[in-house]
């Protein structure tokens, strides 16, 4: 490598030696700055910022060792190679040159060939160091930009809701853990906790598509299984084999008081019962995301009845696997004890964080300790979601109607609600109502499917055993379904300064046995089909069943009065 011109500080009190050195260095095309003692060397260093320093060890006023120490201190992160010039021969003196901050030494008399080679070598090292420094600065800058983009994508969603708590302790600018929460159109909450193998940039990159898919699909009302399938497929395609995402996903259905839980690779999700203080553990029964190809990935979440005040706790392995200075793991037993001895459920979350923190003590955490908890509450505690749409159409379609008929195979394989909701929100005036619309649509469609086509009795859902049985039956009957259908007729027309939307949902079932009863009774009786129908009636302007009870018609006009004027607790 040809030697670029460097500025070289020569500090030597001996005029003869300095002149010889100076001549050698200048002959190589470098610029020379001279100093005759340590103090001068320090002054010259501050003025001229030399690339390399040739320093005599023994000098008056301030010797070379002291000057080197001060120069290295002042240089900070800058690499300023110092070559000691010495006629000292004993090993300990030479070692002292290096220990006091010198990078090399040269013995007198100077061998010009060796001196040139050393200057070139240190010049190269200096340039490489500068490049590294500049790369590092560039990298930090890029990380800042990437972090901004990342934060925009993996934004905090609805983590600020009063019934959610979370804690993320990043080990680097980026965190291998991801915590996401988003409202579902039906008012529920979807939670995701992900722990990527590794830390930093590679882990954060994977988190971006996860967040994008999670938010996009959850807002549109897709089921948990669909979201997980999509995330898995995406991660399987984009991540290298050794990188994958352990995770847990929980859907809180605040209307039907239910939690759907999927755990893949992270420690058991804890379900804490508010009244009894009992803990149910939902162990991981799935492979992490991004491991299996789509055709072999089949998420199997489980449903749990959740009363108000019941809580779920999700965490990455950072909690149980954090260890103290003695090398002991925090472990599940310590975690369980916190739940057993809890006197105030509201404090468990903080107790865990404090306990882990105290346990770790002075030792550095090895993994990201991430914790997320959610409490089951009523919808009025968290309100209906305000889902934002980025679609730019103005006005949108005003006069249209559509018909969708789903046969037995389609009913088992396809959830039409996200698709229908997408079409409805093309109407500008309906966009802000997507939460309402989903609730109405989901309630009426599920009634048609579960009671009409599948003939399930909602009375089953009254206790938690029956609740589980109900969903088991639903699954089974759906799988065995050979006949039956649900028809959705949806139309919209302009009305006044807004519009009028009509749903008509017809099922092939026999209708309700007690269809002669007063509608008010049907819709206000929570035993009949949960609290859903009562809510639907409040959200709609009109709600009628036909005499047979297998067709329901709901009409909804917009603009709507503000949500606060609809008294949920009526």
């Amino acid at each position: 490598m040809s030697s670029a011109s460097l500025t070289i500080l020569i500090a030597d009190d001996n005029n003869t030696d300095r002149r010889i050195l100076s001549a050698i260095v200048q002959q190589e095309g470098h610029k020379v700055v001279e100093a005759t003692n340590g103090e001068e060397a320090l002054e010259r260093f501050n003025e001229s910022v030399p690339d390399i320093i040739l320093m005599d060890a023994l000098m008056p006023k301030m010797n070379g060792f002291e000057a080197s120490r001060l120069i290295k201190q002042r240089a900070g992160n800058q690499l300023v190679p110092i070559i000691f010039l010495t006629s000292l021969q004993d090993a300990s003196s030479l070692a002292n040159c290096l220990e006091s901050g010198g990078d090399d030494f040269m013995s007198k008399p100077y061998n010009r060939v060796i001196l040139k080679a050393k200057i070139n070598a240190f010049g190269r090292m200096r340039r490489m160091h500068d490049q590294l420094q500049s790369h590092n600065r560039q990298m930090l800058l890029e990380q800042q930009v990437a972090k901004t983009v990342f934060d925009n994508v993996a934004h905090s969603g609805c983590l600020a809701l009063p019934n959610l708590r979370h804690s993320l302790s990043p080990l680097a600018v980026f965190n291998g853990d991801t915590v996401l929460a988003e409202r579902k159109p039906d008012g529920g909450i979807s939670l995701f906790l992900g722990d990527f193998t590794g830390h930093g940039l590679p882990a954060a990159i994977g988190a971006m598509p996860v967040a994008e898919i999670f938010y996009g699909m959850t807002q549109k009302g897709f089921a948990m299984e669909d979201v997980l399938r999509e995330i898995n497929a995406k991660l399987y395609t984009i991540l290298p084999t050794e990188v994958f995402c352990c995770g847990a996903m929980v859907d809180l259905d605040v209307t039907n008081k239910m939690a759907r839980i999927w755990v893949g690779g992270v420690p058991s999700v804890y379900l804490y019962r508010g009244d009894s203080g009992a803990v149910e553990k939902v162990a991981s029964s799935n492979l992490p995301l991004g491991v299996l190809p789509s055709r072999r990935f089949s998420p199997q979440p489980n449903d749990y009845r959740m009363h108000n005040g019941d809580r779920v706790f999700l965490w990455s392995d950072g909690i149980v696997e954090s260890h103290n200075e003695a090398g002991e793991l925090f472990g599940e037993e310590r975690l369980d004890a916190l739940f057993t001895h809890a006197t105030d459920p509201d404090r468990i979350f903080d107790d865990i964080l404090v306990a882990v923190d105290q346990f770790i003590g002075g030792s550095r955490p090895d993994d990201d300790t991430t914790l997320l908890s959610a409490t089951m509450v009523d919808l009025d505690v968290i309100g209906l979601p305000l889902l934002h749409s980025n679609k730019a159409s103005i006005g949108g379609p005003m006069d249209w109607q559509m018909n969708l008929q789903l046969g037995p195979q389609s009913l088992g394989a396809f959830n039409p609600l996200p698709l229908v909701l997408n079409i409805l929100t093309e109407v500008e005036g309906l966009r802000s109502l997507s939460g309402h619309l989903y609730t109405v649509l989901a309630e009426l469609f599920n009634n048609a499917l579960e009671h009409g086509v599948l003939g399930l009795d909602s009375k089953l859902k009254q206790d938690s055993q029956g609740f589980a049985q109900y969903y088991q039956l639903r699954e089974q009957r759906l799988a065995d379904l050979t006949s039956g259908q649900v028809c959705l007729d949806i139309s919209h027309r302009p009305l006044g300064n807004g519009g009028e939307l009509t749903f008509e949902i017809t099922d092939s079932g026999p209708g309700f046995a007690h269809s002669h009863q007063d509608l008010a009774y049907l819709t206000d009786n929570p035993d009949y089909s949960g609290r859903g129908l009562a809510l639907v009636r409040r959200l709609c302007d009109e709600l009628d069943f036909n005499d047979a009870g297998n067709r329901v018609r709901a009409t909804l006009c917009w603009p709507r009065p503000a949500w606060s004027e609809l008294h949920l607790n009526g």
């Binding site: 001996n14 003869t16 030696d17 002149r19 010889i20 001549a23 023994l58 010009r112």
Partner: protein, 119 residues
């Protein structure tokens, strides 16, 4: 190596190298060396006249003197300086009078040789 032969006053190969390196500045360098050497010698004599010579200062001056002698290829003088440095280091300064005298004689001889052969 010629530098290790105490009988040799000058290392001619080293001096020729220096002359090639410094070109027009060479004579200036030799003058500087001789001036400094004379100064150091005077300093050493003065230090030695002190009832209790400062061994550290003697050592430092001898060390530095030795260094520049080596650099300009003044071999035997360098050797004598090293001996003085070693004695100072061992705190044996009570018997250096003859060594100092040798240094003075050698310095005069070196100056004569340099002036006749290189200037």
């Amino acid at each position: 190596m010629t530098a290790d032969q105490p009988d040799q006053h000058l290392d001619d190969a080293a001096l020729t190298d220096l002359r090639d390196l410094l070109e027009d500045d060479f004579s200036d360098l030799i003058e500087t060396f001789l001036g400094d050497a004379r100064e150091r010698y005077t300093e050493l004599v003065a230090l030695n006249q002190h009832p209790e010579p400062d061994a550290q200062t003697v050592r430092g001056t001898a060390h530095s003197f030795k260094g520049s002698c080596l650099n300009v290829g003044v071999t035997r003088l360098a050797q004598l300086c090293r001996r003085l440095e070693e004695m100072a280091n061992a705190d044996q300064l009570d018997s250096v009078d003859s060594l100092l005298a040798d240094i003075g004689t050698e310095l005069t001889e070196v100056e004569r040789l340099l002036r006749s052969q290189y200037l």
